[in-house]
């Protein structure tokens, strides 16, 4: 039995009122990312396969997202003792990754990939229609379509319809969905189960706690179900937050576990608008001293800012879903945000870098 489902759906209506509140209802803050200063970063991803068996392969995501106004991927180079290493590109989403194959019997497979990219803060002025880039029909279709983890029918559509009922514009729909996620996605200790990994079962189970890949996927699913093109961008935090948020940046040069997925929604007249409701929940949970009330000033500031703006301290890998890894024996990848590898024993655990083994570092460099 789904716990809290009805209450969750009812809350969508209540949130309509909250979403209509003007920005000045939230706390004033200096959390104000502003475009204008490009920064260049270099990441180094080092893999050492600790228990090679049979033929060993690896697939390492590369910065491949492109947007003239905030993200420019640079060159990637590598060193390895593999017999083959080549950049591959997924035809549907343009995700690039390095595919590496070692000789069978290689006792110490090693790979080191160095990538560069440039980025800057983003901030879309949502107070007036600008000259946002137009979206082609092909892109509109791609970014409103369901994926394996992001269905757009059934309970996802039902929930989206409740949240956006009566909204008179796309931006209002998007903001209501954003606010609903901020208000409702927490782990209720009374719920007895979890979703299976996709946003529909997340809603059905009533267990709405989760990490960025869950919560921002939920945003994307609800937005797509409302007819708004939306996408997750899978990436990696590479630097601290300039605005003092410990939870919203990388704490050191070692960013092995700093993967982070953000989201965008396309709004006519504004173009792609950055959003990150998952990071608002992260501030609530992790910003010192931890477990902040939703009314806390730091939370309010993040909530205000992260609809329409991002800090440029993050690497954007790709927007891919349901990716077939060439040569892989394991399953299709639901998203590519971590290094992947396989041996004859099967796919390695990308969430356990200490036994995989891999390490990622990042530093800011001169352009």
């Amino acid at each position: 039995m789904v716990v809290n489902r009805r209450e969750v759906l009812k809350a969508g209506g209540a949130l309509a009122a909250a979403a209509a509140c003007p920005p000045f209802a939230f706390a004033q803050s200096n959390f104000a990312p502003k475009p204008g200063a490009w920064r260049t970063f270099e990441t180094v991803t080092r893999l050492e396969i600790s228990k090679p068996a049979g033929v060993v392969q690896a697939w390492v995501p590369l910065p491949s997202f492109k947007s003239d106004d905030w993200f420019r991927p640079g060159e990637s180079t590598w060193t390895t003792n593999a017999k083959k290493a080549e950049i591959k590109r997924d035809s549907k989403y343009g995700a690039e990754f390095l595919h590496v194959v070692w000789d069978e019997g290689e006792k110490a497979p090693v790979l080191e990939v160095t990538s560069r990219f440039s980025t800057q803060d983003r901030a879309v002025d949502l107070s007036r229609l600008g000259n946002g880039a137009t979206l082609s029909e092909e892109e509109r279709k791609l970014f409103t379509a369901p994926t394996k983890l992001i269905p757009t029918d059934g309970i996802v559509k039902e929930t989206s319809d409740k949240i956006t009922a009566g909204a008179t514009s796309d931006i209002e729909k998007a903001r209501r969905i954003y606010e609903w996620i901020v208000e409702n996605t927490y782990r209720d200790p009374k719920t007895r189960g979890c979703g299976t990994g996709d946003v529909a079962t997340m809603l059905k189970s009533g267990n709405l706690g989760g990490k960025c890949a869950d919560l921002n996927a939920l945003f994307v699913g609800l937005a797509r179900a409302a007819g708004l093109p939306a996408r997750d961008i899978y990436g990696l935090r590479v630097a601290p937050s300039k605005f003092g948020y410990k939870s919203l940046g990388a704490g050191s040069e070692v960013v092995t576990k700093a993967q982070h997925c953000r989201a965008e929604v396309y709004l006519d007249g504004f173009g792609w608008v950055p959003v990150d409701p998952a990071d608002v929940r992260k501030v609530i949970l992790e910003e010192p001293p931890g477990n902040l009330p939703i009314s806390d000033d730091k939370v309010a500031a993040a909530r205000q800012t992260l609809f329409g703006a991002w800090e440029g301290n993050w690497l954007a890998y790709n927007v891919a879903h349901d990716l077939e890894l060439p040569g892989a024996k394991g399953p299709t990848l639901e998203f590519l945000m971590y290094p992947q590898a396989e041996t004859a024993e099967g796919r390695l655990d990308c969430l356990d870098p200490d036994t995989f083994t891999y390490k990622i570092t990042a530093k800011e460099v001169s352009a």
Binding site: G193, P331, D349, C350
Partner: protein, 199 residues
């Protein structure tokens, strides 16, 4: 126990009155006991977390366990089987695995358990079960095809099959399998034959 018959009854009539009184009293006591039992039984039945399913044929299930051996569901016919879908990252799933191990240990002659890990790599499962061993096979549903075929919308989800292989019960969410009313329900399934109602 004193006969509460009217004090006016005397002699053989009084004796008859006493007997009738005892009979009525016993009947009343039996009725009260039955009512109390029925209330408890009804409450227990209602409080059971199972969804009753009418004799459904299960989807196919053939998968590989953590040692690489092939395990098929139809190899378990003859016992009550729990097909349990879980993930190690799902917090409510973890203590339930221990509960299932205890159930299996106490009822190994009548119950089999087949745990299905949804979309997790083998190495992660091997590390988990090294620290948290269980006494039943664990197979992998790496591409989610099995959990989708079984209509799994939540983790954990457990399907209970009777000895003929028909799906009889479903539980969504975690469960303490040591509860007497839960064990009693599973015991009932031991005697189920094809097309036999379960209630």
């Amino acid at each position: 126990m004193k006969n509460q018959a009217a004090p006016a009854c005397r002699g053989s009539v009084a004796q008859a009155c006493k007997s009738v009184g005892r009979v009525w009293l016993i009947a009343l006591l039996c009725l009260a006991h039955f009512a109390a039992w029925h209330a408890v039984a009804t409450a227990d039945a209602k409080s059971l977390p199972f969804q009753e399913i009418s004799n459904a044929a299960p989807p196919a299930l053939e998968a590989v366990d953590l040692d690489g051996s092939h395990i098929a569901l139809d190899g378990f016919v003859g016992k009550t089987v729990l097909v349990h879908f879980f993930a190690t990252w799902c917090e409510p799933c973890r203590p339930e695995l221990a509960s299932l191990s205890e159930l299996k240990a106490k009822h190994s002659d009548a119950i089999e358990i087949l745990a299905v890990s949804v979309a997790e790599p083998r190495v992660r499962l091997q590390r988990f079960f090294e620290k948290n061993p269980v006494n039943f096979p664990v197979v992998m549903d790496a591409d989610r095809s099995t959990s989708q075929a079984w209509g799994v919308d939540m983790l954990p989800t457990t399907f209970v099959l009777d000895p003929t292989g028909a799906v009889r019960l479903k539980v969504e969410g975690d469960l303490d399998w040591s509860q007497p009313n839960v064990v009693a329900r599973l015991e009932e399934l031991k005697e189920v034959r094809p097309n036999q109602p379960t209630q």
